[in-house]
Amino acid sequence: MPIRDTIGQTILELSRQDKRIVVLTADLAGSLRVDSFQKTYPDRFFDAGVAEQNMAGVAAGLALYGKTPFILSFAVFNPGLNLSMIRTIAYSNLNVKIVGGHAGLSNAGDGATHQALEDIAIMRSLPNMTVLSPADDAQARWAIKQAVKINGPVYIRSTRLDTPTLKHAQEFKLGQPEPVDAKSKIQNNKIEVLIFSTGPIINTAIQVAKTLNQQKIATRAINLHTLKPINTDAIKQLITQTQKLVVTIEDHQIAAGLGGLVAEISAEITTSRAPLLRIGVKDSFGQSARSAEKLYEAYGLDQASIVKQILEVYSNASS
Protein backbone atom coordinates (compact mmCIF):
# COMPACT_ATOMS: atom_id res chain seq x y z
CA MET A 1 0.00 0.00 0.00
CA PRO A 2 1.34 3.50 -0.78
CA ILE A 3 2.86 5.26 2.21
CA ARG A 4 0.45 8.17 1.96
CA ASP A 5 -2.54 5.82 2.20
CA THR A 6 -1.10 4.15 5.29
CA ILE A 7 -0.42 7.51 6.90
CA GLY A 8 -4.01 8.66 6.41
CA GLN A 9 -5.38 5.36 7.63
CA THR A 10 -3.16 5.16 10.71
CA ILE A 11 -4.01 8.69 11.80
CA LEU A 12 -7.67 7.74 11.48
CA GLU A 13 -7.21 4.53 13.48
CA LEU A 14 -5.29 6.18 16.30
CA SER A 15 -7.87 8.94 16.51
CA ARG A 16 -10.49 6.52 17.71
CA GLN A 17 -8.60 6.06 21.00
CA ASP A 18 -6.71 9.30 21.16
CA LYS A 19 -9.19 12.14 21.25
CA ARG A 20 -6.44 14.75 21.24
CA ILE A 21 -5.66 14.10 17.59
CA VAL A 22 -6.91 16.69 15.10
CA VAL A 23 -6.06 17.02 11.42
CA LEU A 24 -5.36 20.08 9.29
CA THR A 25 -4.63 20.31 5.60
CA ALA A 26 -4.19 23.15 3.12
CA ASP A 27 -6.58 22.23 0.30
CA LEU A 28 -4.98 18.81 -0.20
CA ALA A 29 -7.19 16.44 1.77
CA GLY A 30 -7.36 13.89 -1.05
CA SER A 31 -3.71 14.00 -2.08
CA LEU A 32 -2.60 13.49 1.51
CA ARG A 33 -5.27 10.84 2.09
CA VAL A 34 -7.05 12.48 5.01
CA ASP A 35 -10.36 12.72 3.17
CA SER A 36 -11.59 9.67 5.04
CA PHE A 37 -10.60 11.30 8.33
CA GLN A 38 -12.58 14.34 7.24
CA LYS A 39 -15.65 12.17 6.65
CA THR A 40 -15.29 10.23 9.89
CA TYR A 41 -14.38 13.12 12.18
CA PRO A 42 -15.70 16.29 10.56
CA ASP A 43 -15.43 18.08 13.92
CA ARG A 44 -11.75 17.29 14.27
CA PHE A 45 -10.79 18.14 10.69
CA PHE A 46 -9.88 21.64 9.57
CA ASP A 47 -9.16 22.72 6.00
CA ALA A 48 -7.02 25.84 6.13
CA GLY A 49 -7.45 26.51 2.43
CA VAL A 50 -4.33 27.29 0.41
CA ALA A 51 -2.54 28.78 3.42
CA GLU A 52 0.29 26.65 4.76
CA GLN A 53 1.80 29.24 7.10
CA ASN A 54 -1.50 29.83 8.82
CA MET A 55 -2.17 26.10 8.97
CA ALA A 56 1.10 25.59 10.88
CA GLY A 57 0.38 28.58 13.11
CA VAL A 58 -3.10 27.34 13.97
CA ALA A 59 -1.59 23.91 14.70
CA ALA A 60 0.85 25.58 17.08
CA GLY A 61 -2.08 27.13 18.92
CA LEU A 62 -3.98 23.85 19.02
CA ALA A 63 -0.87 22.22 20.51
CA LEU A 64 -0.51 25.03 23.05
CA TYR A 65 -4.07 24.26 24.07
CA GLY A 66 -3.39 20.53 24.39
CA LYS A 67 -4.41 18.97 21.08
CA THR A 68 -2.18 16.77 18.93
CA PRO A 69 -2.48 18.33 15.48
CA PHE A 70 -1.30 16.70 12.28
CA ILE A 71 -0.62 19.15 9.47
CA LEU A 72 -0.43 17.72 5.98
CA SER A 73 0.55 19.20 2.64
CA PHE A 74 3.18 18.64 -0.03
CA ALA A 75 6.72 18.71 1.40
CA VAL A 76 7.63 21.63 -0.89
CA PHE A 77 5.14 23.73 1.06
CA ASN A 78 5.15 21.94 4.40
CA PRO A 79 7.92 22.68 5.55
CA GLY A 80 8.95 24.45 2.33
CA LEU A 81 6.61 27.40 2.61
CA ASN A 82 5.94 27.57 6.35
CA LEU A 83 9.45 27.03 7.68
CA SER A 84 9.52 30.04 9.97
CA MET A 85 6.34 28.91 11.70
CA ILE A 86 7.68 25.36 12.00
CA ARG A 87 10.90 26.75 13.45
CA THR A 88 8.83 28.48 16.12
CA ILE A 89 7.00 25.20 16.72
CA ALA A 90 10.36 23.47 17.19
CA TYR A 91 11.70 26.24 19.45
CA SER A 92 8.54 26.02 21.55
CA ASN A 93 8.79 22.23 21.43
CA LEU A 94 5.12 21.99 20.47
CA ASN A 95 3.35 18.74 19.84
CA VAL A 96 2.75 19.25 16.12
CA LYS A 97 3.09 16.41 13.60
CA ILE A 98 4.14 17.56 10.16
CA VAL A 99 3.55 15.35 7.13
CA GLY A 100 5.37 16.39 3.95
CA GLY A 101 3.83 14.61 0.97
CA HIS A 102 5.03 13.88 -2.57
CA ALA A 103 8.65 14.25 -1.44
CA GLY A 104 11.59 13.64 -3.73
CA LEU A 105 11.17 13.11 -7.45
CA SER A 106 8.11 10.91 -6.92
CA ASN A 107 5.78 13.58 -8.31
CA ALA A 108 7.18 13.49 -11.83
CA GLY A 109 4.57 15.39 -13.81
CA ASP A 110 4.34 18.61 -11.82
CA GLY A 111 8.05 19.35 -12.11
CA ALA A 112 10.62 21.13 -9.97
CA THR A 113 8.22 23.44 -8.13
CA HIS A 114 6.50 20.43 -6.62
CA GLN A 115 9.52 18.18 -5.94
CA ALA A 116 10.93 18.54 -2.43
CA LEU A 117 14.63 17.72 -2.53
CA GLU A 118 15.70 19.67 0.54
CA ASP A 119 13.14 18.84 3.23
CA ILE A 120 15.39 16.37 5.07
CA ALA A 121 18.18 18.95 5.17
CA ILE A 122 15.82 21.60 6.51
CA MET A 123 14.11 19.47 9.11
CA ARG A 124 17.13 17.67 10.49
CA SER A 125 18.78 20.99 11.26
CA LEU A 126 16.00 22.00 13.66
CA PRO A 127 16.51 21.33 17.39
CA ASN A 128 13.70 19.33 19.07
CA MET A 129 12.55 17.98 15.70
CA THR A 130 12.24 14.23 15.10
CA VAL A 131 12.64 13.27 11.44
CA LEU A 132 11.12 10.03 10.16
CA SER A 133 11.38 8.73 6.63
CA PRO A 134 9.37 5.53 6.25
CA ALA A 135 10.22 3.15 3.41
CA ASP A 136 7.02 1.12 3.25
CA ASP A 137 3.57 0.78 4.76
CA ALA A 138 4.80 -1.05 7.85
CA GLN A 139 7.22 1.74 8.59
CA ALA A 140 4.65 4.41 7.80
CA ARG A 141 2.32 2.86 10.36
CA TRP A 142 5.16 2.72 12.88
CA ALA A 143 6.15 6.32 12.11
CA ILE A 144 2.67 7.69 12.79
CA LYS A 145 2.45 5.72 16.04
CA GLN A 146 5.86 7.02 17.11
CA ALA A 147 4.85 10.53 16.17
CA VAL A 148 1.83 10.39 18.47
CA LYS A 149 3.90 8.84 21.26
CA ILE A 150 6.55 11.54 21.12
CA ASN A 151 5.62 14.71 22.94
CA GLY A 152 7.12 17.24 20.54
CA PRO A 153 7.39 18.15 16.87
CA VAL A 154 7.82 15.31 14.39
CA TYR A 155 8.35 15.41 10.63
CA ILE A 156 7.21 12.48 8.52
CA ARG A 157 8.42 12.36 4.93
CA SER A 158 5.83 10.85 2.62
CA THR A 159 5.79 10.03 -1.07
CA ARG A 160 3.48 9.49 -3.95
CA LEU A 161 4.90 6.14 -5.02
CA ASP A 162 3.20 2.81 -4.55
CA THR A 163 5.89 0.98 -2.61
CA PRO A 164 6.28 -2.74 -1.94
CA THR A 165 6.33 -3.97 1.64
CA LEU A 166 9.81 -4.97 2.75
CA LYS A 167 10.68 -8.08 4.69
CA HIS A 168 11.58 -6.79 8.12
CA ALA A 169 13.65 -8.98 10.42
CA GLN A 170 13.41 -6.81 13.49
CA GLU A 171 11.26 -4.24 15.22
CA PHE A 172 11.83 -0.63 14.32
CA LYS A 173 13.53 1.40 16.98
CA LEU A 174 13.71 5.16 16.91
CA GLY A 175 17.12 6.27 15.66
CA GLN A 176 18.32 2.74 15.04
CA PRO A 177 19.74 1.66 11.65
CA GLU A 178 17.90 -1.32 10.16
CA PRO A 179 19.69 -3.96 8.06
CA VAL A 180 17.32 -4.79 5.22
CA ASP A 181 19.16 -7.68 3.65
CA ALA A 182 18.56 -9.97 6.59
CA LYS A 183 19.07 -13.07 4.50
CA SER A 184 22.59 -12.07 3.52
CA LYS A 185 25.17 -14.30 5.11
CA ILE A 186 28.04 -11.82 5.19
CA GLN A 187 29.67 -11.34 8.51
CA ASN A 188 30.05 -7.79 9.69
CA ASN A 189 33.82 -8.08 9.52
CA LYS A 190 33.61 -8.96 5.83
CA ILE A 191 31.55 -6.02 4.54
CA GLU A 192 33.16 -4.51 1.47
CA VAL A 193 30.44 -2.11 0.45
CA LEU A 194 27.97 -0.61 2.90
CA ILE A 195 24.88 1.15 1.58
CA PHE A 196 22.75 3.54 3.61
CA SER A 197 19.42 4.56 2.22
CA THR A 198 16.13 6.03 3.39
CA GLY A 199 12.54 6.07 2.17
CA PRO A 200 11.15 4.04 -0.74
CA ILE A 201 14.36 4.30 -2.74
CA ILE A 202 15.65 1.65 -0.31
CA ASN A 203 14.04 -0.80 -2.74
CA THR A 204 16.55 0.25 -5.38
CA ALA A 205 19.33 0.07 -2.80
CA ILE A 206 18.38 -3.51 -1.97
CA GLN A 207 18.48 -4.45 -5.65
CA VAL A 208 21.85 -2.77 -6.01
CA ALA A 209 23.18 -4.72 -3.02
CA LYS A 210 21.89 -7.94 -4.57
CA THR A 211 23.63 -7.21 -7.86
CA LEU A 212 26.91 -6.41 -6.13
CA ASN A 213 26.71 -9.54 -3.98
CA GLN A 214 26.17 -11.57 -7.16
CA GLN A 215 29.40 -10.06 -8.42
CA LYS A 216 31.11 -11.31 -5.25
CA ILE A 217 31.30 -7.90 -3.66
CA ALA A 218 30.10 -8.37 -0.11
CA THR A 219 27.49 -5.64 0.19
CA ARG A 220 25.14 -4.75 2.99
CA ALA A 221 22.13 -2.41 2.77
CA ILE A 222 20.99 -0.42 5.77
CA ASN A 223 17.73 1.48 6.04
CA LEU A 224 17.60 4.66 8.08
CA HIS A 225 13.91 5.16 8.85
CA THR A 226 14.90 7.72 11.45
CA LEU A 227 17.17 10.57 10.43
CA LYS A 228 16.91 12.45 13.71
CA PRO A 229 17.66 11.47 16.41
CA ILE A 230 20.14 8.91 15.18
CA ASN A 231 22.37 6.41 16.91
CA THR A 232 25.70 7.76 15.72
CA ASP A 233 27.69 5.06 17.51
CA ALA A 234 25.86 2.33 15.60
CA ILE A 235 26.49 4.17 12.31
CA LYS A 236 30.16 4.67 13.14
CA GLN A 237 30.51 1.00 13.98
CA LEU A 238 29.00 -0.04 10.66
CA ILE A 239 31.29 2.34 8.80
CA THR A 240 34.47 1.18 10.56
CA GLN A 241 33.56 -2.44 9.79
CA THR A 242 33.40 -1.59 6.09
CA GLN A 243 36.49 -2.38 4.06
CA LYS A 244 36.09 -0.66 0.69
CA LEU A 245 33.30 1.81 0.28
CA VAL A 246 30.40 3.46 2.08
CA VAL A 247 27.52 4.58 -0.15
CA THR A 248 24.44 6.69 0.50
CA ILE A 249 21.42 6.55 -1.81
CA GLU A 250 18.66 9.09 -1.43
CA ASP A 251 15.76 10.74 -3.28
CA HIS A 252 16.93 14.17 -2.09
CA GLN A 253 19.88 16.55 -2.45
CA ILE A 254 23.07 14.86 -1.31
CA ALA A 255 24.05 18.12 0.39
CA ALA A 256 22.85 18.06 4.00
CA GLY A 257 20.53 15.15 3.29
CA LEU A 258 21.28 11.52 4.03
CA GLY A 259 24.68 11.85 2.30
CA GLY A 260 25.45 14.91 4.37
CA LEU A 261 24.35 13.16 7.54
CA VAL A 262 26.56 10.12 6.95
CA ALA A 263 29.46 12.36 5.88
CA GLU A 264 29.21 14.29 9.15
CA ILE A 265 29.23 11.13 11.23
CA SER A 266 31.93 9.50 9.15
CA ALA A 267 34.20 12.54 9.44
CA GLU A 268 34.16 12.16 13.23
CA ILE A 269 35.68 8.70 13.05
CA THR A 270 39.28 8.95 14.22
CA THR A 271 40.53 5.59 12.93
CA SER A 272 40.98 4.76 9.26
CA ARG A 273 37.73 4.31 7.38
CA ALA A 274 36.39 3.60 3.92
CA PRO A 275 35.67 6.53 1.61
CA LEU A 276 32.10 7.75 1.07
CA LEU A 277 30.16 7.89 -2.20
CA ARG A 278 27.00 9.99 -2.02
CA ILE A 279 24.34 9.16 -4.60
CA GLY A 280 21.30 11.39 -4.92
CA VAL A 281 20.35 14.67 -6.53
CA LYS A 282 23.47 16.74 -6.99
CA ASP A 283 22.88 20.45 -6.68
CA SER A 284 20.21 20.59 -9.36
CA PHE A 285 16.45 21.02 -9.36
CA GLY A 286 14.09 18.33 -10.51
CA GLN A 287 11.94 18.62 -13.63
CA SER A 288 8.86 17.19 -15.27
CA ALA A 289 8.74 13.72 -16.76
CA ARG A 290 5.95 11.44 -17.87
CA SER A 291 6.82 8.89 -15.18
CA ALA A 292 8.84 8.73 -11.97
CA GLU A 293 10.96 5.90 -13.43
CA LYS A 294 12.06 8.14 -16.31
CA LEU A 295 13.03 10.82 -13.85
CA TYR A 296 15.03 8.49 -11.61
CA GLU A 297 16.89 7.32 -14.71
CA ALA A 298 17.60 10.89 -15.79
CA TYR A 299 19.02 11.67 -12.36
CA GLY A 300 21.17 8.55 -12.17
CA LEU A 301 18.98 7.07 -9.47
CA ASP A 302 17.94 3.86 -11.19
CA GLN A 303 19.48 0.54 -10.31
CA ALA A 304 21.78 0.27 -13.33
CA SER A 305 23.29 3.74 -12.99
CA ILE A 306 23.78 3.33 -9.28
CA VAL A 307 25.61 0.01 -9.75
CA LYS A 308 27.76 1.66 -12.40
CA GLN A 309 28.64 4.60 -10.16
CA ILE A 310 29.53 2.29 -7.28
CA LEU A 311 31.65 -0.05 -9.43
CA GLU A 312 33.64 2.87 -10.80
CA VAL A 313 34.59 4.12 -7.35
CA TYR A 314 34.92 0.59 -6.00
CA SER A 315 37.48 -0.46 -8.58
CA ASN A 316 39.49 2.73 -8.01
CA ALA A 317 39.35 2.13 -4.25
CA SER A 318 40.51 -1.47 -4.77
CA SER A 319 43.40 -0.83 -7.09
Partner: protein, 276 residues
Protein backbone atom coordinates in the same frame (compact mmCIF):
# COMPACT_ATOMS: atom_id res chain seq x y z
CA UNK B 1 -1.65 43.33 -36.04
CA UNK B 2 -5.03 43.28 -37.72
CA UNK B 3 -7.79 43.66 -35.15
CA UNK B 4 -9.73 40.48 -34.53
CA UNK B 5 -13.48 40.60 -34.52
CA UNK B 6 -15.29 39.00 -31.64
CA UNK B 7 -16.17 35.84 -33.60
CA UNK B 8 -12.51 35.61 -34.55
CA UNK B 9 -11.43 35.93 -30.93
CA UNK B 10 -13.88 33.20 -30.05
CA UNK B 11 -12.45 30.95 -32.73
CA UNK B 12 -8.93 31.71 -31.54
CA UNK B 13 -9.86 30.80 -27.98
CA UNK B 14 -11.39 27.53 -29.12
CA UNK B 15 -8.18 26.62 -30.93
CA UNK B 16 -6.29 27.21 -27.69
CA UNK B 17 -8.78 25.06 -25.81
CA UNK B 18 -8.28 22.25 -28.32
CA UNK B 19 -4.52 22.40 -27.70
CA UNK B 20 -5.03 22.42 -23.94
CA UNK B 21 -7.29 19.38 -24.03
CA UNK B 22 -4.87 17.48 -26.28
CA UNK B 23 -1.76 18.49 -24.32
CA UNK B 24 -3.13 17.33 -21.00
CA UNK B 25 -4.39 14.09 -22.48
CA UNK B 26 -1.04 13.42 -24.17
CA UNK B 27 0.88 14.21 -20.99
CA UNK B 28 -1.58 12.15 -18.93
CA UNK B 29 -1.37 14.77 -16.22
CA UNK B 30 -2.24 18.42 -15.77
CA UNK B 31 -5.08 20.74 -14.83
CA UNK B 32 -7.94 21.01 -17.33
CA UNK B 33 -10.55 22.99 -15.36
CA UNK B 34 -8.51 26.10 -14.61
CA UNK B 35 -6.74 26.02 -17.97
CA UNK B 36 -9.95 25.98 -19.99
CA UNK B 37 -11.46 28.57 -17.69
CA UNK B 38 -8.76 31.22 -18.23
CA UNK B 39 -8.44 30.75 -21.99
CA UNK B 40 -10.70 33.67 -22.94
CA UNK B 41 -8.76 35.98 -20.63
CA UNK B 42 -5.44 34.97 -22.21
CA UNK B 43 -6.94 35.25 -25.70
CA UNK B 44 -8.08 38.79 -24.97
CA UNK B 45 -4.66 39.78 -23.69
CA UNK B 46 -2.64 38.26 -26.52
CA UNK B 47 -4.98 38.70 -29.51
CA UNK B 48 -6.10 42.30 -29.01
CA UNK B 49 -3.75 45.29 -28.72
CA UNK B 50 -4.13 45.35 -24.93
CA UNK B 51 -0.88 43.52 -24.19
CA UNK B 52 2.04 45.06 -26.09
CA UNK B 53 4.52 42.39 -27.19
CA UNK B 54 6.68 41.15 -30.05
CA UNK B 55 6.45 37.38 -30.28
CA UNK B 56 9.75 37.09 -32.11
CA UNK B 57 11.44 39.46 -29.71
CA UNK B 58 10.16 38.37 -26.31
CA UNK B 59 12.66 40.52 -24.40
CA UNK B 60 11.53 43.68 -26.24
CA UNK B 61 12.15 46.42 -23.65
CA UNK B 62 8.93 48.24 -24.47
CA UNK B 63 6.69 45.23 -23.97
CA UNK B 64 3.97 44.91 -21.41
CA UNK B 65 4.58 42.08 -18.99
CA UNK B 66 2.23 39.17 -18.46
CA UNK B 67 2.95 37.12 -15.36
CA UNK B 68 1.12 33.95 -14.43
CA UNK B 69 0.66 33.29 -10.74
CA UNK B 70 -1.55 30.18 -10.75
CA UNK B 71 1.08 28.17 -12.61
CA UNK B 72 -0.99 25.00 -12.86
CA UNK B 73 -3.05 26.55 -15.68
CA UNK B 74 0.10 26.86 -17.82
CA UNK B 75 -1.18 24.59 -20.62
CA UNK B 76 -3.42 27.54 -21.55
CA UNK B 77 -0.49 29.95 -21.41
CA UNK B 78 1.76 27.66 -23.45
CA UNK B 79 -0.92 27.16 -26.10
CA UNK B 80 -1.63 30.90 -26.21
CA UNK B 81 2.06 31.74 -26.60
CA UNK B 82 2.45 29.17 -29.38
CA UNK B 83 -0.64 30.48 -31.19
CA UNK B 84 0.73 34.01 -30.79
CA UNK B 85 3.98 32.92 -32.45
CA UNK B 86 6.45 32.85 -29.53
CA UNK B 87 7.49 29.29 -30.41
CA UNK B 88 6.44 26.43 -32.64
CA UNK B 89 3.10 24.76 -31.99
CA UNK B 90 4.84 21.43 -32.53
CA UNK B 91 6.38 21.83 -29.06
CA UNK B 92 2.98 21.75 -27.38
CA UNK B 93 2.71 17.97 -27.32
CA UNK B 94 5.92 17.74 -25.25
CA UNK B 95 4.16 19.14 -22.17
CA UNK B 96 5.53 17.50 -19.00
CA UNK B 97 7.94 15.34 -20.97
CA UNK B 98 11.52 14.89 -19.77
CA UNK B 99 13.72 17.80 -20.96
CA UNK B 100 10.76 19.67 -22.43
CA UNK B 101 10.74 23.46 -22.05
CA UNK B 102 7.05 23.03 -21.28
CA UNK B 103 7.43 22.12 -17.63
CA UNK B 104 4.45 21.01 -15.56
CA UNK B 105 4.59 24.46 -13.99
CA UNK B 106 6.15 27.42 -15.83
CA UNK B 107 9.86 28.04 -15.42
CA UNK B 108 11.31 31.39 -16.40
CA UNK B 109 14.13 30.95 -18.88
CA UNK B 110 12.84 27.66 -20.25
CA UNK B 111 10.41 29.02 -22.80
CA UNK B 112 10.15 32.32 -24.71
CA UNK B 113 7.27 34.42 -23.43
CA UNK B 114 7.23 32.93 -19.94
CA UNK B 115 8.08 35.88 -17.69
CA UNK B 116 8.14 34.18 -14.28
CA UNK B 117 8.27 30.90 -12.42
CA UNK B 118 5.09 29.75 -10.71
CA UNK B 119 3.44 26.67 -9.26
CA UNK B 120 3.65 27.44 -5.58
CA UNK B 121 0.46 29.46 -5.25
CA UNK B 122 0.47 32.97 -3.88
CA UNK B 123 3.86 34.00 -5.24
CA UNK B 124 2.92 35.58 -8.54
CA UNK B 125 1.41 38.85 -7.38
CA UNK B 126 4.53 39.73 -5.37
CA UNK B 127 6.69 39.11 -8.42
CA UNK B 128 4.41 41.25 -10.56
CA UNK B 129 4.59 43.99 -7.93
CA UNK B 130 8.38 43.80 -8.16
CA UNK B 131 8.38 44.15 -11.94
CA UNK B 132 5.91 47.05 -11.77
CA UNK B 133 7.96 48.70 -9.04
CA UNK B 134 11.15 48.40 -11.09
CA UNK B 135 9.43 49.88 -14.15
CA UNK B 136 7.97 52.72 -12.13
CA UNK B 137 11.30 53.47 -10.48
CA UNK B 138 12.80 53.89 -13.94
CA UNK B 139 9.81 55.95 -15.10
CA UNK B 140 8.91 53.40 -17.77
CA UNK B 141 5.37 53.21 -19.09
CA UNK B 142 5.15 49.43 -19.67
CA UNK B 143 2.15 47.83 -18.02
CA UNK B 144 2.19 44.66 -15.91
CA UNK B 145 -0.68 42.16 -15.99
CA UNK B 146 -0.79 39.23 -13.63
CA UNK B 147 -3.28 36.40 -13.67
CA UNK B 148 -4.10 34.84 -10.30
CA UNK B 149 -6.56 32.20 -9.15
CA UNK B 150 -9.19 32.62 -6.49
CA UNK B 151 -7.74 29.75 -4.44
CA UNK B 152 -4.44 31.51 -4.04
CA UNK B 153 -6.19 34.47 -2.46
CA UNK B 154 -6.17 32.30 0.65
CA UNK B 155 -2.40 32.73 0.85
CA UNK B 156 -1.30 35.60 3.07
CA UNK B 157 1.43 36.57 0.62
CA UNK B 158 -1.18 37.61 -1.94
CA UNK B 159 -2.55 40.17 0.49
CA UNK B 160 0.91 41.33 1.53
CA UNK B 161 1.48 42.10 -2.13
CA UNK B 162 -1.82 44.00 -2.46
CA UNK B 163 -0.81 46.11 0.51
CA UNK B 164 2.61 46.82 -0.95
CA UNK B 165 1.28 47.81 -4.36
CA UNK B 166 -1.25 50.18 -2.79
CA UNK B 167 1.46 51.81 -0.69
CA UNK B 168 3.59 52.49 -3.76
CA UNK B 169 0.56 53.40 -5.91
CA UNK B 170 1.50 51.00 -8.69
CA UNK B 171 -0.96 52.16 -11.31
CA UNK B 172 1.06 50.24 -13.91
CA UNK B 173 -0.18 46.97 -12.43
CA UNK B 174 -3.37 45.05 -13.23
CA UNK B 175 -4.37 41.90 -11.41
CA UNK B 176 -6.88 39.51 -12.93
CA UNK B 177 -8.55 37.01 -10.63
CA UNK B 178 -9.85 33.79 -12.12
CA UNK B 179 -12.96 33.71 -9.95
CA UNK B 180 -14.14 30.23 -10.83
CA UNK B 181 -15.33 29.43 -7.28
CA UNK B 182 -13.44 26.12 -7.11
CA UNK B 183 -10.19 24.74 -5.75
CA UNK B 184 -8.89 21.20 -5.08
CA UNK B 185 -10.93 20.20 -2.04
CA UNK B 186 -14.16 21.71 -3.29
CA UNK B 187 -15.90 25.07 -3.63
CA UNK B 188 -13.86 28.03 -2.41
CA UNK B 189 -16.74 29.25 -0.27
CA UNK B 190 -16.80 25.92 1.54
CA UNK B 191 -13.05 25.22 1.79
CA UNK B 192 -12.11 28.76 2.88
CA UNK B 193 -14.58 31.50 2.07
CA UNK B 194 -13.16 34.46 0.17
CA UNK B 195 -16.28 36.60 0.16
CA UNK B 196 -16.80 39.43 0.38
CA UNK B 197 -13.88 39.53 -2.00
CA UNK B 198 -14.76 42.79 -3.72
CA UNK B 199 -15.01 44.64 -0.44
CA UNK B 200 -11.77 43.12 0.80
CA UNK B 201 -9.93 44.29 -2.30
CA UNK B 202 -11.46 47.74 -2.15
CA UNK B 203 -10.49 48.10 1.49
CA UNK B 204 -6.92 47.32 0.45
CA UNK B 205 -7.23 50.52 -1.57
CA UNK B 206 -7.38 48.91 -5.01
CA UNK B 207 -9.67 49.85 -7.84
CA UNK B 208 -11.94 46.85 -8.28
CA UNK B 209 -13.57 45.95 -11.59
CA UNK B 210 -15.65 42.91 -12.48
CA UNK B 211 -16.08 41.13 -15.76
CA UNK B 212 -17.65 38.12 -17.33
CA UNK B 213 -14.50 36.10 -17.97
CA UNK B 214 -15.93 34.68 -21.20
CA UNK B 215 -17.37 37.84 -22.75
CA UNK B 216 -14.74 39.40 -25.01
CA UNK B 217 -16.44 42.77 -25.15
CA UNK B 218 -16.58 42.97 -21.39
CA UNK B 219 -13.03 41.66 -21.00
CA UNK B 220 -11.61 44.20 -23.46
CA UNK B 221 -13.51 47.00 -21.81
CA UNK B 222 -12.35 46.18 -18.27
CA UNK B 223 -8.76 45.43 -19.24
CA UNK B 224 -8.54 48.76 -21.06
CA UNK B 225 -10.02 50.58 -18.08
CA UNK B 226 -7.58 48.89 -15.73
CA UNK B 227 -4.62 49.66 -17.95
CA UNK B 228 -5.54 53.34 -18.11
CA UNK B 229 -6.34 53.57 -14.40
CA UNK B 230 -4.56 55.97 -12.09
CA UNK B 231 -4.66 53.37 -9.31
CA UNK B 232 -3.57 49.73 -9.10
CA UNK B 233 -6.52 47.78 -10.47
CA UNK B 234 -7.87 44.34 -9.95
CA UNK B 235 -10.40 42.67 -12.21
CA UNK B 236 -12.53 39.92 -10.76
CA UNK B 237 -13.18 37.72 -13.79
CA UNK B 238 -16.16 35.45 -13.25
CA UNK B 239 -15.33 32.27 -15.10
CA UNK B 240 -16.55 28.75 -15.58
CA UNK B 241 -13.96 26.12 -14.74
CA UNK B 242 -13.66 23.68 -17.62
CA UNK B 243 -15.35 26.14 -20.02
CA UNK B 244 -15.90 24.61 -23.45
CA UNK B 245 -16.10 20.96 -22.43
CA UNK B 246 -19.61 20.90 -21.05
CA UNK B 247 -19.39 17.69 -19.00
CA UNK B 248 -16.51 19.01 -16.90
CA UNK B 249 -17.79 22.57 -16.46
CA UNK B 250 -18.21 23.83 -12.89
CA UNK B 251 -17.06 20.54 -11.38
CA UNK B 252 -14.16 21.00 -8.97
CA UNK B 253 -13.15 17.36 -9.37
CA UNK B 254 -11.73 18.30 -12.78
CA UNK B 255 -9.15 20.58 -11.20
CA UNK B 256 -6.32 18.13 -11.83
CA UNK B 257 -7.97 15.19 -13.52
CA UNK B 258 -7.06 13.72 -16.90
CA UNK B 259 -9.90 12.57 -19.14
CA UNK B 260 -9.93 8.89 -19.99
CA UNK B 261 -10.06 7.95 -23.64
CA UNK B 262 -13.81 8.16 -24.22
CA UNK B 263 -14.05 11.40 -22.28
CA UNK B 264 -11.14 12.79 -24.23
CA UNK B 265 -12.77 12.16 -27.61
CA UNK B 266 -16.13 13.41 -26.41
CA UNK B 267 -14.51 16.66 -25.23
CA UNK B 268 -12.43 17.01 -28.37
CA UNK B 269 -15.47 16.55 -30.56
CA UNK B 270 -17.29 19.28 -28.69
CA UNK B 271 -14.32 21.63 -29.04
CA UNK B 272 -13.83 20.76 -32.71
CA UNK B 273 -17.50 21.38 -33.41
CA UNK B 274 -17.00 24.93 -32.30
CA UNK B 275 -14.45 25.77 -35.00
CA UNK B 276 -16.34 24.21 -37.91
Amino acid sequence: MKLMTRPELKKQATKIRQHVWQMIYTAQSGHPAGSLGVTDILTTLYFTPILKYQAKNPQWPERDYFLLSNGHVCPALYATLAEAGFFSKSKLNTLRQLNSPLQGHPHVGSLPGVENTSGPLGQGLSQAVGVALGLKTDKKINHVFVLTSDGEHQEGQTWEAYMFAAKYALNNLTVIIDRNLVQIDGKTEEVMPLERLKLKLASFRWRVLETDGHDFKDLIDKLQKAKASQRPSVIIAHTIPGKGVSFIENDYRWHGKVPHEAEYYEGLEELMGKTQ
